[in-house]
């Protein structure tokens, strides 16, 4: 596999350098919405969706900015456009598919201000990905986020029944779990090399 092949870009963001466990992007929802498997799964799907939308937007904006030599406005434009694009999509979904909105909708506002979304846009720009690569990257990142979130939710659901020592509850427990997951994911290092 070449370093810039679509498969590698996907796998890299998905498991090798997992967005949450190796890049630390999107930690707030990762710690916040990982209590229940079901919620985590829905949240994950919403993130995949938002990532696709924002990656596409970011690609478009960057194209325009480079064209007009306005790279220094990149950050401001990204954050503004991604936020409004997601809002727009939210409104569209609400109008045309209330069922889908019920599943994804509550998470959308939460996701918009999530560093994983902006991080995705910035990383794809830094690495000069073309459009197909951007899509592979955003899918990998989104599913990587979902995977980490769902695994975490499973572990936390299991530990709800455990007699965890009172000093290691809450955030410390979640972070320790994340550390263990991150350790386990190191097994994928160098995959495909």
């Amino acid at each position: 596999m070449q370093p810039d092949s679509l498969t590698f870009i996907f796998l890299n963001a998905f498991i090798i350098n997992n967005f949450v466990l190796a890049m630390f992007l999107g930690l707030c929802p990762f710690l916040g919405v990982s209590g229940k498997i079901k919620t985590a799964w829905n949240m994950g799907l919403a993130v995949v969706f938002v990532m696709l939308v924002s990656s596409t937007c970011a690609y478009g904006i960057n194209y325009l900015l480079v064209r007009f030599n306005l790279e220094f406005l990149r950050l401001i434009c990204y954050i503004a456009v991604i936020a409004s694009a997601v809002q727009l999509v939210e409104m569209v979904i609400k109008k045309f598919s209330p069922a889908l909105f019920r599943t994804l909708g509550i998470f959308l506002p939460l996701i918009t201000t999530n560093c994983a979304i902006l991080g995705l846009a910035l990383f794809q720009t830094n690495r000069d990905y073309n459009f197909a690569q951007c899509l592979a990257f955003s899918l990998g990142a989104g599913f990587g986020f979902t995977l980490a979130l769902v695994l975490m939710a499973g572990l936390r659901e299991k530990l709800e029944l455990a007699e965890v020592p009172d000093v290691s509850t809450g955030a410390a427990l979640s972070l320790m779990l994340a550390g263990l997951l991150s350790l386990a994911f190191m097994g994928f290092a160098g995959l495909g090399g």
């Binding site: 498997i37 069922a99 019920r102 599943t103 769902v150 695994l151 499973g154 572990l155 659901e157 299991k158 530990l159 029944l161 455990a162 007699e163 965890v164 020592p165 290691s168 427990l173 320790m176 779990l177 550390g179 263990l180 997951l181 350790l183 386990a184 994911f185 190191m186 097994g187 994928f188 290092a189 160098g190 995959l191 495909g192 090399g193």
Partner: protein, 360 residues
């Protein structure tokens, strides 16, 4: 790992309900099972000492004592009765030692033991609540922290192994291990390559003889070399109904099939399936570590999925990953997945209606 035969009350009941075939009339008590597992591991330890000498002995003793000590100390600190008497932490210690290279510095082995028991087990509430196998947590931590020493291998049946330590074993705490080049030069004059069968396969496409792998006359971690011996010990445990045969069975079957497929595609590039089964820590992991009941799924179908997952990830990491060995990570990842697998494969209660989609 087997220590998990002791579980939280709820889990025991869940398992008891899920078991279909009548295995034992009276469930053996926790420490009897644990003790049996320790007995079953002793031949492996003995072989390891025979093969690698006093360094290996020191490693096994150090790890076991460090694990027991950590558990005892933490229980005392948190004003709980010490849980060291159920033998489970001893199993963690022995298993950890068996997965480390014989030349591993003892102080690093202590670090791995402390981390494995403290972070891998007691942080989450002790036995029955650990999310991953504690011995493997310790080893994974050591692999990430001390990559160099953990991938340094020594020759098997080296001369003078019963009279002198491998130089790196006695490294002072916090220091880099002493170089073993000079020691290698006089113990293994016939150009020991310092590579395990897996590394030879991966980097030089040299396969190792199957008989050698079964007997264990290869370099490798202290207790992983003899696939045959491990299998015999595992079968003993299974015959005595002290271990679940399904998990090792599915792991080995999947590993066999997956690597068989790749072997069929290109026999020159990929190892043959029997090599995959007998090399590295696959046998040890499948028999003694993946069977950790606390960290494996509880449903019958879940156990199958769990085994398949471990076998598959192991082969993928070995063939396509940056690392030569993937069993440890495969088991850790499968441990992480096991609550999810249990949830997905939960048998439906008879008569219950599946909730409609879209409804909470």
């Amino acid at each position: 790992m087997t220590e998990s035969r002791v579980q939280s009350k709820g889990a025991v009941e869940a398992r008891a309900m899920l078991h279909t075939s009548p295995h034992l009339r009276i469930a053996p008590s926790v420490d009897i099972i644990m003790r049996n597992v320790v007995w079953a591991m002793l031949p492996i330890c003995a072989f390891s000492v025979f093969q690698f000498g006093i360094s290996s002995l020191a490693l096994i003793v150090t790890c076991t004592l460090a694990c027991i000590g950590t558990e005892h100390l933490i229980c005392r600190l948190s004003d709980k009765p010490s849980t060291t008497r159920d033998w489970s932490v001893a199993i963690t210690g022995i298993l950890l030692a068996l997965t480390l290279p014989p030349s591993f510095p003892l102080w690093m082995a202590v670090v791995a033991s402390v981390v494995g028991v403290a972070i891998g087990k007691l942080f989450f509430g002790g036995l029955g609540h650990n999310v991953m196998n504690p011995a493997l947590v310790g080893r994974a931590f050591a692999q990430a922290a001390f990559t160099g020493p953990l991938t340094t291998w020594t020759p098997y049946l080296a001369e003078g192994r019963f009279t002198e330590f491998i130089p790196s074993t006695l490294t002072l705490p916090f220091l880099r291990p002493n170089s073993i080049t000079e020691w290698l030069a006089h113990t293994a004059p016939d150009a020991f390559t310092g590579a395990t069968p897996l590394a030879l396969m991966k980097f030089e496409q040299v396969s190792t003889n199957g008989i050698q792998l079964l007997i264990g006359t290869t370099a490798g971690s202290a207790g992983e070399t003899s696939a045959g011996l491990i299998l015999i010990c595992g079968i003993y445990l299974m015959i005595r109904k002290m271990a679940d045969w399904r998990i090792p069975f599915w792991i080995l079957l999947t590993a066999f099939v997956t690597s068989g497929v790749f072997y069929k595609i290109d026999p020159n590039l990929y190892p043959d399936p029997l090599f995959t089964l007998c090399s590295g820590g696959l046998m040890l992991g499948a028999v003694f570590m993946a069977t950790d009941m606390v960290a494996s799924p509880v449903t019958p179908l879940g156990v199958v999925l769990y085994g398949i997952l471990i076998g598959f990830i192991t082969v993928i990491i070995r063939l396509f990953g940056g690392l030569t060995e993937g069993v440890m990570y495969a088991i850790l990842l499968a441990n992480a997945c096991s609550p999810l697998i249990s949830a997905v494969t939960q048998p439906r209660i008879y008569g219950a209606v599946k909730p409609k989609k879209g409804q909470p």
